[in-house]
């Protein structure tokens, strides 16, 4: 049976459970021997939860497990005996057989797969029906168990509350587990990389040319220092030189000077800037800003200036980050108590004295945290640098020269034809892992700062 049909049945059973349990609880109520501890509908929810949740958990687990079970079953078939031992090839053939068995493809490409279609179809049907049967059985069993516990004194309300709490807990765990999953997958691929390339070469050597790898000594051309320098230079220096002053000043204007009417249209405009897709910024950087920057460089006496300068990518990235800095600075300035501002104004300080001497120092931790978050966004930003930054890995302080970033290199390494077990491709995961760790640390520091700051005023 189709998974959706199964879910439909389970939820239907849950609804029936809800209705019958509620009806039973209402009858208790009318019987009048004893006051119900909980509302009839709470009894209903209790039974519905017991009907639906165990079955759903089972379906989730079964969907994850059954492909492996099906594969084992098919491999036991006589037709599978001649299959190659090489896992990658074997899985491709099995995949073909499955597509035909499920009716997604008309015929197989590889003749060996043909023989497997029948066993495959059998296995899928067997495990599909087994799973369905167990799920429905679980739904009935859970419902019956819960239904048997209903009595006037039964504390359905507390049970339902606890059940709800568990559901919410699982929902929030999913995001956390995903983060851990992402980290682990990066981590395993990186370990494979570091088995081929010594970490100290990758982290500390300064030569990066992944297209020309010496198979005997891959570490020689996979030194990531120029990439981290480029990332830092574009994302944390040039972009922040744009984003911090403009973001901060716009936040000051919006919180301290702007009339409510001006603020009412200016703030949404800034937020629109935050909503522009990064690929559009990429066009802007590559087609408009980069040529202008190159012309400027030529004008300044650098005749061979790059059209993929660090400056062009950094400037546009800075503009992209302005709303981010502005809204975080806005929040932290607005969080400074009005009493502080009044106290300064009552001393005869002007608006700008009040801002620079009282409000900004008081809001500084929040502003710093905002800047750290902005940096972590900027160094993870991909689309702008893919379109506007260069692929040449230079360590340079000249913003008119080309520089490349970690994200740009990851994209370059993973696009095009490549095997997934060469140091060149695996380097992308090591880069990703390093970037992930850096942004994670930045975020942790920023959140710490914000937390400390909040304690000061509440």
């Amino acid at each position: 049976m189709n998974v959706f049909a199964l879910l439909f049945v389970v939820v239907g059973l849950g609804l029936i459970g809800w209705l019958t349990a509620r009806a039973r609880a209402v009858r208790f109520d009318r019987g009048g021997q004893k006051r119900l501890h909980s509302l009839p509908s709470q009894h209903g929810w209790y039974v519905a939860m017991w009907t639906v949740l165990p079955a759903l958990l089972f379906v989730a687990a079964w969907t994850a497990l059954s492909p492996a079970l099906i594969r084992d079953q098919v491999l036991k078939a006589p037709a599978a005996a001649q299959l190659s031992d090489f896992a990658f090839e074997r899985d491709t053939i099995l995949g073909e057989a499955r597509d035909v068995a499920l009716g997604r493809a008309d015929s197989t490409f590889d003749p060996t797969a043909d023989a497997l279609v029948a066993p495959m179809r059998e296995a899928i049907a067997f495990y599909g029906w087994t799973g369905t049967a167990i799920a429905i059985l679980l739904a009935f069993a859970g419902g019956a168990f819960a239904f048997s516990r209903i009595s006037p004194a039964f504390r359905a309300r507390t049970r339902v509350e606890r059940g709800l709490m568990l559901i919410l807990l699982v929902a929030s765990l999913i995001a956390i587990l995903t983060t851990i999953g992402i980290f682990l997958s990066l981590f395993w691929e990186s370990i494979r990389f570091f088995a081929m390339v010594p970490p100290q070469d990758f982290l500390f050597s300064t030569h990066w040319s992944p297209q020309l790898i010496d198979p005997n000594n891959p570490g020689k051309s996979l030194g990531a220092v120029p990439l981290f320098w480029g990332t830092f230079f574009i994302g944390a220096v040039i972009a922040m030189l744009v984003a911090i002053p403009f973001g901060l000043m716009s936040a000051i204007y919006l919180t301290q000077y702007a009339a409510p009417r001006v603020r009412a249209w200016m703030k949404p405009m800034l937020e629109i800037l935050a909503g522009v897709p990064t690929v559009v910024y990429g066009y802007f950087a590559a087609l408009t800003v980069a040529p202008a920057v190159r012309d400027l460089a030529v004008h300044l006496g650098m005749p061979f200036a790059s059209a993929e300068s660090a400056l062009a990518a950094g400037l546009v990235m800075g503009v992209m980050i302005i709303p981010f800095v502005s809204s975080l600075a806005d929040d932290s300035i607005a969080a400074v108590p009005t009493a502080m501002r009044d106290g300064s104004l009552a001393m005869g300080a002007t608006n700008s004295e009040t801002i620079s001497r009282v409000l900004l120092p008081a809001a500084l931790p929040g502003v710093v945290a905002g800047v750290l978050l902005a940096v972590s966004r900027a160094i993870g930003e991909t689309m702008i640098v893919v379109m506007a930054a260069s692929g040449a890995a230079n360590i340079t302080l000249n913003p008119f020269e080309s520089a490349t970033t970690v994200t740009k290199q990851i994209v370059d390494l993973l696009t095009g034809e490549s095997e997934f077990d060469s140091p060149k491709t695996l380097a992308a995961f090591a880069l990703g892992l390093t970037l992930f760790v850096i942004t994670l640390l930045l975020n942790i520091v920023a959140l710490r700062v914000v937390k400390k700051y909040r304690e000061a005023y509440e």
Partner: protein, 264 residues
């Protein structure tokens, strides 16, 4: 309407501050109706009245702190030494240096104790040298009765002091620019009784050197610290006179009801 003592024109009076026919509006809502009052140099003047009667609002008109509220509008005349403080010739920065303010909740800046007191002298350029500034800071802290408690930790944060110390720090901050008038907006409402007693004692000591106006919801406090008392109700000045008379022989029925605890 007000039955306060009839007053002659403001400019001729020689009072430190004089208000004539003052109305305050927040948007369409009128918060103060036709208030006329004089504040003298050698007196502590107390504003009393039930919550929402407009006493704090009126206090804030005296150094134009209502300017910080966009919807607030003030009409009528308020004079400081015969100068109209709402005229275009009056610079609000100068005005607030002459008319200082202490708020309901202690609001020291998140800076060191020294920097809190030095704040005003710095922005008004009152000290030519570091030595002069040190002198102003010490003098102000002494007058606020805080010097002995903080002289060894002037570089500690002002927010680390106790509530009562913070409020005295705010008073020191206000007197550091040597104002002529000090407005106090319920300065003890966030403090415990001992800290309150210290502030009241301090007000006694500062009397004569500055004209002091204090808003309080505590009638005993008004009786203890002030020589003149003004009773506000529903945005109007109901009665204004010597504190002794207001508390022993109020002329108005409403004043009497409030003082005897009939409402408020």
């Amino acid at each position: 309407m007000t039955d306060a003592t009839p007053l002659s024109t403001a400019t001729a009076t020689g009072h430190k501050m004089s208000a004539r026919g003052v109305n305050v509006f927040y948007g369409d809502k009128q918060a103060i109706r036709d208030v006329s009052i004089d504040v003298d140099m050698d007196h502590v003047t107390a504003f009393i009245g039930p919550s929402g009667c407009g006493k704090s609002t009126f206090l804030r008109t005296l150094n134009r702190m209502n300017d910080t509220i966009a919807s607030a509008r003030v009409t009528g005349d308020i004079m400081l030494d015969g100068e109209d403080i709402y005229s275009s010739a009056m610079d609000v920065v100068q005005l607030r240096a002459r008319v200082g303010m202490v708020f309901q909740k202690p609001n020291p800046f998140p800076k060191s104790i020294y920097e809190n007191v030095a704040y005003g002298p710095r922005i008004h350029g009152l000290a030519a040298s570091k030595v002069a500034l040190d002198g102003i800071v010490e003098g102000s802290l002494r007058r606020a009765g805080l010097w002995d408690e903080v002289k060894d930790r002037l570089s500690d944060s002002g927010t680390a002091l106790s509530g009562g110390q913070q409020q005295r720090l705010c008073i020191a901050r206000a007197i550091a620019v040597d104002p002529e008038v000090i407005l106090m907006d319920e300065p003890c409402s966030a403090l415990d009784p001992i800290a309150t007693a210290k502030i009241e004692e301090l007000i006694h000591e500062l009397r004569g050197r500055y004209a002091i106006v204090i808003v309080t919801h505590n009638m005993q406090q008004a009786a203890r610290v002030s020589q003149k008392t003004a009773f506000f109700h529903l945005g109007q000045l109901v009665e204004y006179g010597d504190t002794d008379n207001i508390f022993t022989a109020p002329k108005q029925e409403r004043t009497k009801d409030y003082i005897t605890g009939r409402y408020g």
